[in-house]
C-alpha cells in the first residue's frame, strides 16, 4: 500500500507511544525486558527445568511437564532453559513441545557442558535433537567449564547464523571472580547467575558490570529451588506485600528479583501450571523501586 500522510499519522497514533490506553493496558509491556545486545523484547519470567523436568519415561510426569509448558506459552511464553546436566530434562522439553503442538513464543536456551572442547558441537547437536528445534536462541557455557574453548565455538556458530545468542552460566554464587573476568573480555549476550532476596552478592559487581557491558542477565534459583518459599511458608505476608500486588511469598520473592533494573529474565522452575501462572502474574503488576527493594531485603532478612 502506498504511504500517505494520513496513513503515517494513523500509524503513529496507533503505536504504544501515542495511543491513549486504559489503565490496565499500561501493564501490558511491564512483563517484558529488552535484551541489551539486540534490543529485542523477551518476557521477564521464563521457565527453568532443573530437577522438575528430569522425569525419564514416566508418562504421568511427562504429561505434567507438557502441561507446565502449555501454561507457560499461554501466559506469554519466553525463555525455557535447560542443560545436558539436567538428566532427561531436554527430552522432556522435546516431548512436551510435540505433545502440545505449540512452540511459540519460545526462546530456547541450553548449555554446553563438557570439559572437552572438541565434544562441544556433538553434545549441542544431541541437545538440539532432544529439543526438536532447528536451532537455539541461546547457548551457554555451563558453569564456565572449559569456557574459553567453548566460547570460541559458540561465537563461530553465532557468526555463521547457527546460533542467535551466546552466554555463560554459574550458580550458587560460585566462580564469580572468574565470571567477572569472562564478562570483561568477551562480548557475551547473556550471563546466568544466582540472585534472590537472600543471595544478593551479584548486586555488588556483576549486575552493574552486566549493565556496563550490555550483557543480559538471566537469574537462576530465584527461590533457591523452592527452599525460600518453604522457609517463609508459615510466615504471614508482610504488610507491604499488597503495595506491590503480591498475594503470595513466591510473588514477593520473584518481584524482588525481576524488579532489579539489570535483570533481563528470571527462570523459576515448577511442576505446576498454577505456579506458572502465579509466576507470570508477578511480572504484570506493580514492581518495587530501589528504595522499596532495599526495605524488602532488610525486612525479609530479619524473618
Amino acid at each position: 500500500m502506498t504511504l500517505t500522510r494520513r496513513r503515517l499519522i494513523g500509524a503513529c497514533l496507533a503505536s504504544p507511544l501515542f495511543a491513549a490506553r486504559p489503565a490496565l493496558a499500561a501493564d501490558e509491556r511491564v512483563d517484558m525486558r529488552r535484551i541489551p545486545s539486540t534490543g529485542a523484547e523477551i518476557p521477564v519470567v521464563g521457565l527453568g527445568t532443573w530437577m522438575t523436568f528430569n522425569v525419564g519415561s514416566d508418562p504421568a510426569l511427562l504429561q505434567q511437564s507438557a502441561d507446565v509448558m502449555e501454561a507457560f506459552f499461554a501466559e506469554g511464553g519466553g525463555m525455557i532453559d535447560s542443560s545436558p546436566m539436567y538428566g532427561s530434562a531436554q527430552q522432556t522439553i522435546g516431548r512436551g513441545l510435540s505433545r502440545i503442538g505449540r512452540r511459540e513464543p519460545l526462546f530456547s536456551a541450553d548449555k554446553v557442558w563438557t570439559s572437552s572442547v572438541e565434544d562441544g558441537p556433538a553434545q549441542m547437536e544431541m541437545t538440539r535433537s532432544h529439543w526438536t528445534v532447528p536451532r537455539f536462541d541461546l547457548m551457554q557455557v555451563h558453569n564456565l567449564r572449559a569456557v574459553e574453548g567453548h566460547l570460541e565455538t559458540l561465537f563461530a556458530m553465532k557468526d555463521s547464523g547457527a546460533l542467535a545468542h551466546v552466554g555463560v552460566t554459574t550458580s550458587h554464587g560460585r566462580r564469580h571472580a572468574e565470571l567477572e573476568d569472562v564478562m570483561k573480555r568477551h562480548p557475551l549476550d547473556f550471563v546466568q547467575l544466582t540472585y534472590n532476596v537472600l543471595d544478593r552478592e551479584a548486586e555488588d559487581r556483576l549486575l552493574p558490570l552486566a549493565r556496563e557491558r550490555g550483557i543480559g542477565v538471566i537469574v537462576n534459583r530465584p527461590f533457591r529451588r523452592g527452599a525460600l518459599i518453604e522457609r517463609f511458608r508459615s510466615e504471614p505476608l508482610p504488610s507491604w506485600a499488597a503495595e506491590i500486588g503480591a498475594s503470595t511469598w513466591a510473588q514477593i520473592l520473584l518481584k524482588y528479583v525481576i524488579s532489579h533494573p539489570d535483570v533481563t529474565v528470571a527462570i523459576p522452575a515448577t511442576t505446576r501450571p498454577a505456579h506458572v501462572r502465579e509466576n507470570k502474574q508477578a511480572a504484570r503488576g506493580p514492581l518495587p523501586d530501589e528504595a522499596f527493594r532495599q526495605m524488602m531485603a532488610a525486612d525479609i532478612s530479619t524473618i
Binding site: 528430569n54 522425569v55 525419564g56 519415561s57 504421568a60 510426569l61 538428566g87 532427561s88 567449564r145 571472580a177
Partner: protein, 232 residues
C-alpha cells in the same frame, strides 16, 4: 576441578548432586508395582515361608539365598533401568546388582550342603532374621504410613532396598565366615547410597529406616561375634 582450586568446593552440598525431585523417585515404584502386580504378594509369602524353613535345613537355606538372588535380578531388570533414566550413576551401580545375584545363585547351586549357620550366635540369628522379615514386611508398609498409599511400596522382588536389607539380614543369620562377609559388600554399598540419597531428597524417615537396618546388622555382627577364636 576449577571449583576446588577456587575454593568453591565448600559451597557444594549433597543437594547439588541430586538430579531429581522426591516425587519422581516414588513414582518409579508406582510404575514398577503397577507393572509387577499381582506378583508382589506371592513373592513376599514365598520368601517369608522360605525364611521359616530356611534356618532349619541347609538345603532350604541354600534355596533361600537363591530366591534372594532372583530378587536382585528383579531389581536389576525392573528398578535399575527406570532409575537410570533419571540418575546416571545408576548405570554404574546396576552391574553390582548382577554380581550380587550371580554370587547368591552360585552359592545356592554349588555350595556344600553343610556350609552355613553352624556356630552362628543367637544374637546374630535373631537380629538377622528380624531384619530380613522387616525388609519383606516393614518396607512395603512404610509406604502406607509415610507416604499415605501402597502404590509406591518398595516390595522385595523388584525394589532394591528390601533385597539389600534382606540379604544383610540373611547373611548375618544364616551364614558365616568369608562368605557371609562377601554377601554383605554390595548390599552395604547400596544401603549407604540409598540412605544418603533418600535423606538428601527429603525422604528423611525412609532414609533413616535404611540406616537403622544397617546399624542393627553392624551391631549384631560386632556384638554377636562367636565366642570361639577365629573369624567373625
Amino acid at each position: 576441578m576449577g571449583d576446588w582450586l577456587m575454593g568453591d568446593w565448600a559451597s557444594y552440598e549433597l543437594q547439588d548432586f541430586l538430579l531429581f525431585a522426591e516425587p519422581t523417585y516414588w513414582r518409579l515404584f508406582e510404575r514398577l508395582n503397577a507393572a509387577f502386580w499381582p506378583f508382589q504378594i506371592p513373592v513376599v509369602l514365598v520368601l517369608l515361608g522360605g525364611l521359616l524353613v530356611g534356618f532349619t535345613s541347609p538345603r532350604m537355606r541354600r534355596g533361600l539365598f537363591g530366591l534372594l538372588g532372583l530378587c536382585w535380578i528383579g531389581a536389576a531388570v525392573g528398578f535399575a533401568p527406570l532409575y537410570a533414566e533419571i540418575n546416571w550413576a545408576m548405570a554404574y551401580l546396576a552391574p553390582l546388582f548382577w554380581v550380587q545375584a550371580i554370587g547368591m545363585l552360585g552359592f545356592a547351586l554349588l555350595a556344600r550342603a553343610s556350609s552355613g549357620a553352624e556356630g552362628t550366635t543367637f544374637l546374630r540369628l535373631i537380629a538377622g532374621m528380624s531384619v530380613a522379615v522387616a525388609a519383606m514386611l516393614i518396607w512395603p508398609l512404610a509406604a502406607l504410613f509415610l507416604r499415605g498409599s501402597f502404590s509406591s511400596a518398595e516390595v522385595i522382588g523388584v525394589a532394591p532396598d528390601p533385597a539389600a536389607i534382606a540379604t544383610l539380614g540373611l547373611a548375618t543369620a544364616l551364614a558365616r565366615g568369608w562368605f557371609a562377609a562377601a554377601l554383605c559388600v554390595v548390599p552395604l554399598i547400596w544401603c549407604v547410597v540409598s540412605a544418603v540419597s533418600l535423606i538428601t531428597m527429603g525422604a528423611l524417615a525412609e532414609g533413616w529406616l535404611v540406616g537403622a537396618a544397617v546399624i542393627a546388622i553392624l551391631a549384631a555382627r560386632l556384638f554377636g561375634a562367636p565366642a570361639t577364636a577365629g573369624r567373625a
